[in-house]
């Protein structure tokens, strides 16, 4: 950027693009708030939110960490359970046919309706948050793993079965590696869902976490702090997504060989 003519020619727009867009969004936001004279209790400007973040940095940090590990715990449960259930469902057409409608039905239930039940069973606190994160995020993992298994090429299955391969051989050699790109793709969706689940539960019944902090801030009319909580959540979400995407790239690079979006 310093040597201007050469710098512009070599400037990597793809790498810079996310930062520029984010920065641009905040600039437009800030400008709009000042230009239209929007009061801070309706929509605070990014600078006001920034100040709230600084002012309450201790509490914000504590609650962010709380929400992060609650989410990750639920997410980890979703990975283990989702992977096992996905393999089980994808194992056989009959199991697939039998359990799929149940899965759809379960996933259609708004999780906000489930939280009170969880609170009833386990009491208010971190456990309902972990469970909500788990319940909301395992579905895409199950569906994707099962789909990966269900779409094995029939020729490939014939090749192996004509060699005397058992169902387990076909699964281990072909089915599971084949469903990994689907699995890692699902993790990216699932991690963001897990955040939604844990925060949802925290806003209903918890003593800590970003969700709880937002609720308190709202009650105290600290609107900039509410927004500060939202931004903290967004940052956590992006961070975890990036980790999942990196993992996907590392584990299943072979599945991303097309130059389609380059």
């Amino acid at each position: 950027m310093q040597t201007k003519s050469a710098g512009i020619a070599k400037f990597d727009w793809v790498r810079a693009s996310p930062w520029l867009c984010t920065f641009g969004l905040f600039v437009i936001w800030e400008a709009s708030v000042w230009m239209f004279g929007i009061p801070y209790y309706i929509l605070p400007a990014p600078t006001q939110i920034g100040y709230a973040m600084y002012e309450f940095s201790g509490a914000l940090w504590f609650n962010s960490i709380q929400t992060l590990w609650t989410t990750l715990l639920g997410f980890a449960m979703a990975i283990v359970f989702g992977l096992l259930l996905g393999l089980f469902i994808g194992w056989d057409k009959r199991i697939y046919a039998g359990l799929y409608p149940l899965m759809i039905g379960f996933n259609s239930i708004p999780k906000i309706a489930v939280v009170p039940i969880l609170v009833l069973w386990f009491g208010a606190g971190w456990l309902p948050a972990v469970l909500t994160a788990f319940l909301i995020s395992f579905f895409p993992i199950v569906v994707n793993v099962a789909t990966g298994l269900a779409t094995i090429e029939p020729e490939m299955e014939d090749v192996l079965r004509a060699l005397g391969a058992k169902k387990l051989d076909v699964m281990v050699k072909v089915g599971i590696p084949r469903s990994l790109p689907y699995f890692f793709g699902a993790l990216k969706v699932a991690i963001t869902l897990a955040f939604i689940g844990s925060v949802l539960s925290e806003t209903i019944a918890a003593n800590s976490g970003i969700g709880h902090m937002m609720l308190t801030a709202q009650a105290n009319f600290e609107v900039p702090l509410v927004f500060a909580c939202l931004i903290a959540l967004a940052v956590e979400g992006i961070g975890m997504y990036a980790i999942m995407a990196g993992l996907e790239q590392r584990m299943t690079g072979w599945a991303h060989r097309s130059g389609f979006n380059r």
Partner: protein, 263 residues
């Protein structure tokens, strides 16, 4: 010569979904293949050629009749057959060499030895890859290879465990004419060298006449063998013979039978 594959009076009915009619894929199907023979099966589309392959390997069971392989009644997947299809179906996460070695990880006794003796198997895979003109391609991923090269690798995978029976289901149909002829020669040489029994299902009459000892013509569905024609051209055959009169006459004769079969 001793009969290796014996399909006698076999029928196969595919059960459709509830309410729809069952499909009779083959009926009164009789086919005998001697050990070490190369036979080709030709016929109009949808005549049950692929069904015949699945019957021979025990992937499907006959609704009537008996399939025998090496004297034994087939009542499960046979576990000794190599197969190759029009679509090479390589696993994209494995190198070409590891794709070729896939059967070794499944077939006894190799599946127990491959872990401890990886180097030996690796050499064996490289050797067979070299024999089809794929020297040094073992480390590449299949999707880095051309269609013809993938099909060669697919043949290697079908042959690595030295099967007694090789089944080819239109393996060259998706390739260009020159590559196809090259691969005919690859198959011809491999058969010459290893003397396996081979059943080739194809639409291509020139391919059938060039490669096979006997060409069987199947009727339209429900399929059965209507003509079996021995190909008297001496081996080894060169591509040049495909331009000779005898060759042309044989293909022409078979073409007549297929036209009849289509009705």
């Amino acid at each position: 010569m001793e009969t290796f594959v014996d399909i006698s009076d076999v029928a196969l009915r595919y059960t459709g979904r509830a309410g729809s009619q069952d499909t009779l894929a083959v009926e009164h199907l009789n086919l005998k293949v001697h050990r070490g023979d190369f036979v080709a099966v030709v016929g109009p589309s949808g005549c049950g050629k692929s069904t015949l392959m699945k019957l021979a390997t025990g992937l499907h069971f006959p609704s009537a009749g008996v399939v025998r392989l090496d004297g034994e009644v087939v009542n499960g997947p046979v576990s000794i057959a190599g197969m190759a299809f029009q679509n090479p179906v390589m696993l994209p996460w494995r190198s070409t060499r590891d794709n070729v070695l896939l059967p070794m990880e499944v077939v006894d006794p190799h599946r127990r030895q491959i872990r401890t003796n990886r180097t030996k198997y690796k050499l064996q895979a490289d050797e067979i890859l070299a024999s089809v003109g794929l020297e040094g391609a073992g480390d590449q991923y299949p999707w880095q290879l051309s269609g013809g090269m993938q099909q060669r690798a697919s043949l290697c995978r079908a042959l690595i465990h030295e099967p007694e029976l090789l089944l080819l289901d239109e393996p060259f149909a998706a390739l260009d004419a020159f590559t196809r002829e090259e691969l005919w020669c690859v198959i011809r040489d491999l058969h010459q060298e290893k003397q396996f029994t081979c059943i080739l299902v194809t639409h291509d009459l020139r391919e059938a006449v060039f490669l096979a000892d006997t060409v069987h013509v199947m009727s339209a569905r429900p399929g059965q063998i209507i003509v079996s024609r021995t190909i008297p051209i001496p081996r080894p055959r060169s591509i040049e013979i495909t331009y000779e009169t005898e060759f042309a006459e044989l293909t022409h004769e078979l073409r007549g039978h297929i036209a009849e079969a289509r009705g």
